[in-house]
Amino acid sequence: MARLVMFAILAVVILASAVFCVSTKRIMRAATGLLFVLFGVAGLYFLLDYTFLGAAQISIYAGGITMMYIFAIQLVSKRTLQGLSERWLGKRTFLAAFIALVGVATVILVLLKNQFINILTGNENALANEITMDIVGKTLMSADKYGYVLPFEFISVFLLACIIGGLVILNKNKKEESK
């Protein structure tokens, strides 16, 4: 019951911040809304006893990505910060809202009406065990059947590629300007 109350509070926070994030006119407020959505999702992970995942969510998303967005917003445009360039789109807003409503109705209908959930639920003690750091580290580094050493290595190469790509993209213009 306590978990259900916590879930309700987190869901309200997440959905309200998400709606605020997509509907506000000022870009900095949208970033703040995103920050609260990320904190709410981290709370959901803690609620599911994924403590490592919640910590990673807070440190990577809320700590890193949001800071990067705020820096980018400050670097990009002064007019957007003051809410001058985001204008009312008229009919297209209603069209987008209609698409979103149709989509959410379809997805929720499919997720609720299919049968495999009914077969699988009934695990009453699903929330009893927390995944320890021991298991996380050993699974990430093992090459056995349920090991993740290959995606782990791939993602490190991928991060390196992204660092180099970002630096190259940002530095190219500077050289052209100095010439």
Binding site: R3, A11, L15, A18, C21, V22, A30, L34, V37, L38, V41, L44, Y45, L48, D49, Y50, F52, L53, I60, G64, I65, M68, Y69, A72, L75, V76, S77, T80, S85, E86, L89, R92, T93, A96, A97, A100, G103, V107, I108, L111, I117, L120, T121, N123, L127, N129, I131, V136, T139, Y146, Y148, P151, I155, F158, I163, G165, G166, L170, K172, N173
Partner: protein, 102 residues
């Protein structure tokens, strides 16, 4: 014990709030913020599927972990591109980008 359907409803709503923002926004950074909402809704689904339906395995948790890492890298590169576009076109609206080069 939370019914797993509540997680589905929450993540479906969050996903389509993100889609709505992606369609209506005209600012590149704001569109990227909407994409982050979509990615987070998918992460919620991964974690809820794993914990509430298949509590014996760890696949959902590790996929969420990898998804967080990939989205961090993706938003870093996307922001680099957006800053570059702003230097190039002196605007951060999508309408202003019609050609790859000036």
């Amino acid at each position: 014990m939370i019914p797993v359907e509540y997680f589905f409803i929450l993540s479906g709503l969050l996903f389509f709030i993100g889609v709505f923002g992606f369609v209506t926004r005209r600012n590149l950074v704001a569109m990227l913020i909407s994409v982050e909402l979509v990615l987070n809704s998918v992460d919620i689904n991964f974690a809820a599927f794993n914990r509430l339906l298949f509590p014996g395995g760890y696949e959902g948790m590790f996929f969420t972990l990898f998804s967080i890492g990939v989205s961090a890298a993706e938003s870093a590169v996307a922001l680099a591109i957006i800053i570059n576009v702003y230097r190039h076109f002196h605007s951060d609206q999508v309408n202003s980008i019609e050609n790859m080069k000036l």
